[in-house]
Symmetry: C2
Subunit: 400 residues, 2 copies
């Protein structure tokens, strides 16, 4: 056969671990604690059925036509109102509706990154963000927010943007404290660098009151024009299948993102936008939240108790106060997590190794364990299997 043109260069930089994951989906009886999926039992199916019906029947112009690129005006107004705060006056021009949170990351890469430019990224970093930016060819400057002596101004200087997940970071579950939020915002204001606040887990606080968003800390009282670019999503709050997210930012940034979105998918599904608007307006998202929090809190507790029992001698971790993940670091550097992934699969358990959250794929010291998808009994059994697999991996490493 005649030779076909080569694919774009970024595609050749593929990740073996991702393929292993995909294959894992086929293993019968596997306890999958690798993903970041919500529990389907949290979805209010009867209420969403009614909203879907009403969206088409009562608002066919919204649901069935091309929506404006920026999103339905009423939904943009609703999001502006929901995220406004005493000193933060958001308007429609501060809001772009996106096709899930992932699209916001894609659009940010398109409008801010030319090849070789620098992204300062909280490290370890969300795998999906690294995937979204790969076609733009960025360089990464890791930000280790928990390191003593971390200097936000030095970290942000010269970067196109800084990427953070302050509420229960994916992968580490870490909550960025109020002082550090203030310091990051001040650094963005001093350097001009955009500060991206990716907040998919912002409603999932299990133990305390939510900290102020960096978006609100960046407000100056008037019409919002600050350096914080806030990313929200309906996926964790209601249901991921609708594919609705949003960006809140200065009008200048929204305009650039709109130009990029036009060439990405023209507009987000009007049907999904109309359902989102009605879910917010009717209070549905607020009504379902307490049950979701109770469910996930109990699962976090079950996972951490089982880890204490079975993994306490092998790993260190902190109990997260929100989000979807526990981040466990191996005490023995000989315990290689890429290897643990493979051994774990043969023992019927899957967790995510740290290498996928490192743009250079080098960090093999930790695993991310999800607690939202599986019932407590499954979580306990998963941890038991993981402990067996970890001991086998370690024995293998010593034998070599």
């Amino acid at each position: 056969m005649v030779k076909r043109p080569a694919f774009a260069r970024w595609l050749s930089d593929s990740n073996d671990v991702t393929r292993t994951f995909l294959a894992a989906g086929q293993i019968p009886g596997l306890i999958n604690m690798a993903g970041g999926l919500p529990d389907p039992s949290t979805w209010p199916v009867p209420e969403l059925t009614a909203l879907a019906r009403a969206a088409v029947a009562d608002h066919p112009g919204d649901a069935l036509a091309y929506a404006p690129i920026e999103g339905l005006p009423a939904l943009r107004d609703m999001i502006a109102a929901r995220f406004s705060a005493p000193d933060l006056a958001l308007e429609r021009k501060n809001v772009l509706v996106t096709t899930g949170g992932m699209q916001a990351l894609d659009l940010l890469g398109k409008v801010l990154v030319d090849p070789g430019q620098v992204i300062a990224a909280q490290s370890p970093a969300y795998l999906g963000a690294l995937d979204a930016w790969k076609p733009r060819g960025p360089r990464y400057r890791p930000m280790r927010l928990e390191a003593s002596g971390f200097d936000p101004v030095a970290a942000l200087t010269g970067a196109q943007f800084a990427y953070t997940v302050p509420n229960f970071s994916n992968p580490t579950g870490r909550l960025v404290g109020l002082d550090q939020r203030r310091a990051l915002v001040a650094a963005a204001q001093a350097t001009g660098t955009w500060l991206v606040e990716d907040d998919p887990y912002g409603t999932l606080y299990y133990d305390g009151a939510p900290l102020p968003r960096m978006l609100a800390l960046a407000a100056s009282g008037g019409s919002y024009d600050g350096p914080v670019v806030y990313l929200g999503t309906l996926s964790k709050e209601l249901a991921p299948g609708l594919r609705v997210g949003w960006v809140i930012a200065s009008p200048e940034m929204i305009e650039a993102l709109v130009t990029a979105k036009q060439g990405s998918d023209m507009s987000t599904s009007g049907l999904s936008q109309r359902i989102t608007l009605d879910a917010f307006a009717s209070g549905l998202t607020d009504r379902v939240l307490p049950a979701t929090l109770a469910l996930y809190r109990a699962r976090r507790d079950a996972l951490c108790a089982a880890m204490e029992e079975h993994l306490g001698d092998l790993f260190d971790w902190e109990v997260p106060t929100g989000g979807m993940f526990v981040w466990a670091t191996a005490r023995d550097p000989a315990l290689d997590m890429d290897r643990l992934l493979r051994v774990g699969l043969s023992h019927g358990v899957c967790v995510t190794p740290s290498s996928v959250f490192d743009p250079e794929g080098r960090n093999r010291s930790a695993v991310r364990i999800n607690f939202t998808l599986n019932e407590p009994g499954r979580l306990v059994e998963g941890v038991r299997r993981l402990a067996v697999a970890a001991r086998a991996t370690l024995a293998e490493a010593v034998a070599v």
Copy 2:
């Protein structure tokens, strides 16, 4: 204020005409024949209401969860079956579901174009495709398919892909004939260059039987692995607000596009996919088509009759046998279409000037006139206004 980082380079290459369009939306009483919108009266609202309700109520796992990146398996199978032909055996692995047709264009740019590489594009070319590929920094080789001596092998050699809209091209409404389809497919097979068949208007034949798709002409009898990459969409067949499209291609191409889609929006709305599947399965798309064709055929006829009456001395055009557009070329080169756009707006009519369909913005000789959105009476009045505006534009040009 401190200086913010510059936006990516492609964004500075913006188009003044596009801004004029956006502003045009605000003019009261304007007759807009510039877009490419379907008539909302063609949407089967009661049937779609029932499908939306059933999608959530009966298939919450499909509608509300993250769908597989590739699309719902049953929808991929359905699309494979719909587009299979006597010699063309399509399978699930040949199909990717996209978020509207636009996303397919975006993904193609991501997987096939590194900066400076060549896209051979049917000229004049669909504006949305040019927008989608701008962030990838391609060079363009125009293909004038109607030119005598057009050589498909020369056109395709060394290009990453060739982009065509064989059924009623946007903007020209031109139908690519069977011989030329065969020649393009043969050239793709000889050179290895991918041949993109973008087919949003493939169901909108008003006067004759549909010609074979290039996808089918590229089939070799076995499992499909040919060079044609076929793009379809639900937007013209049912409703654009669902944002559902599809790519049919060799498994190798589908795999690359899946990697790109994961970083673009993770997956297409499961709710929209489920509705699409049920619309195909229940025959809804086939049932609504005859009325849509009758409506658009009558509008095309009304537009062309009015053009004959009012514009016959100023423009040349061919009556299109399908699609959404008439392409009218000015007889007098002094009649500048970018200027006609502006003068037309002051006379309450909007059409699309040829410059936006030229990657270099130079072609100012023609306009694209849409006939699907407006009723016959409005089309006639629009043409009347356009004739007045054209004479005024010409008088102005002569005076200068």
